[in-house]
């Protein structure tokens, strides 16, 4: 997928959805990652996990479908897909921690070049800490995909040498999707750029992030 302009959030979600292998068990984090489900196809047969106790989560519920006993991790009413199953919280997190989920898609404040993830706490004085399932998802899934803008609103890169925000999980992120590029993170070989969106070049990304990025776009 090569595009003339950086990706919109919807296009990022579409891009992530296209990379999920058929038959995968997937957990989509709260926020932008949730929108990935809009682009999963029936042929992909992806089974969505929600940590509050459901495998086989269907689309968001509307109107008469709304049932207070059937919500997702973001506490939004959802539906159950055919073939769904329910389980209690310890089993649900055992699924995660035990490495049974194929992919978790999460948002992030920062990701480091060794795959460390910061997404639970800004660390600001006065902020009330709330972790939910973020740390469990980070360490549990076989692959952790992050979806985020490459920079903060102030233009600071969020892909960094070392985290400055509080850690969620160490060495857990395997791929980062941004509006301008996709990055693969390998703990031994480092970070490579596998895809670019819009006019940005790998050199631009090296300048912006000040990181030793490998060009794996096949064009360099």
């Amino acid at each position: 997928m090569s595009t003339a302009a950086p990706l919109s959030r919807a296009e990022m979600a579409q891009r992530v959805a296209a990379d999920i292998p058929p038959g995968s068990y997937v957990n989509l984090g709260i926020g932008i990652p949730t929108s990935v489900s809009n682009y999963l196809t029936a042929e992909q047969d992806v089974i969505l996990h929600t940590e509050n106790g459901l495998l086989g989560m269907g689309p968001e519920a509307h109107g008469d479908e709304i049932d207070d006993d059937l919500i997702n991790a973001g506490k939004i009413p959802v539906t159950e897909a055919i073939g769904a199953s329910y389980f209690h919280h310890a089993d649900s997190f055992g699924m995660m921690r035990g490495g049974h989920l194929d992919i978790a898609v999460l948002g992030a404040f920062q990701v480091s070049i060794t795959g460390d993830l910061a997404n639970w706490h800004t660390g600001e004085p006065g902020a009330i800490p709330a972790v939910g399932g973020a740390m469990d998802l980070a360490v549990g899934a076989k692959n952790v995909f992050v979806m985020m803008e490459l920079t903060t609103k102030k233009g600071q890169p969020k892909l960094v040498e070392a985290l400055t925000y509080p850690v969620t999980g160490l060495g857990c992120v395997t791929r980062v999707y941004t509006e301008v590029a996709v990055f693969d993170i390998d703990r031994t070989t480092g970070v490579s750029v596998t895809e670019l969106f819009g006019p940005t070049t790998v050199d631009d990304l090296r300048t912006l992030t000040n990181l030793p990025l490998t060009d794996a776009t096949g064009k360099g």
């Binding site: 929600t50 919280h89 740390m135 549990g140 160490l170």
Partner: protein, 228 residues
């Protein structure tokens, strides 16, 4: 000698909660409002025990149930994974006023600490939280090249949970994602108190489908108001 028929059914919420003392640790089921035993919580507020430690995934939503309990001033400490939400204004105010102590636990560690207590496990090493602020001061160990942090069991004096159906022996089934913490909390408390919208005759629950066996349940209260 004829046996006495076991029945865990209590006539009222107030009777079921009557022996809760000041300083008790109480687990409350529910994820957000799904599975939250609102009528039992209302009963706890009426009962008036103070200085409570509450274990729940959240710290209350809106102005009802757990949020109202926090507002009552009876909660000294809350152990939870996700206090801050769009509708957690009561907790937020109470916390910022310094009137409640907060222990944040990653959600899976919270569930497993409760499970461990109920299963007689003296703690466990988990990868969740390793290297984070929430593992500070805790024992760590590297096992087969992976780093783990030690977490202790979490038990309670009481568990207040909501189920879908119960029989007089306390066998329970739940409904959809309202199950959440109910089954593990039921195992981890000295006294487990359950509210259900319907009590069925013995034999009406399929033994293959019972989720919480009655051994884990002490008191069952019928709360009929929910029309289902």
């Amino acid at each position: 000698m004829r046996g006495v028929m076991v029945s865990k059914i209590f006539d009222s919420v107030d009777a079921a909660l009557a022996d809760i003392r000041d300083g008790a640790t109480i687990m409350i089921g529910g994820f957000g409002t799904a599975g939250q035993p609102v009528e039992l919580i209302d009963g706890l507020i009426r009962h008036g025990a103070r200085d409570l430690t509450i274990v729940n995934n959240n710290a209350g939503n809106g102005e009802v149930g757990l949020a109202l309990l926090i507002k009552s001033g009876f909660v000294r400490k809350i152990i939870c994974s996700f206090p801050r939400q769009t509708d957690s204004q009561i907790f937020d105010e109470t916390y910022r006023a310094g009137k409640i102590e907060l222990e944040v636990v990653p959600q899976g560690n919270l569930a497993e600490r409760i499970r461990a207590a109920g299963a007689g496990i003296g703690g466990f090493f988990t990868p969740t939280g390793y290297g984070t602020l929430l593992a500070e001061g805790k024992e760590t160990r590297t096992i087969d090249g992976r780093d783990y942090v030690f977490e202790s069991p979490l038990r309670a004096d009481y568990a207040l949970i909501k189920a879908h159906r119960a029989d007089r022996l306390g066998n329970l089934v739940y409904r959809k994602t309202a199950r959440n913490f109910g089954p593990v909390m039921a195992t981890a408390a000295a006294t487990t108190i359950v509210q259900v919208p319907a009590i069925v005759e013995l034999g009406q629950l399929d033994p293959e489908n019972v989720i919480t066996p009655g051994i884990f349940v002490n008191r069952v209260v019928l709360i009929e108001k929910e029309a289902e």
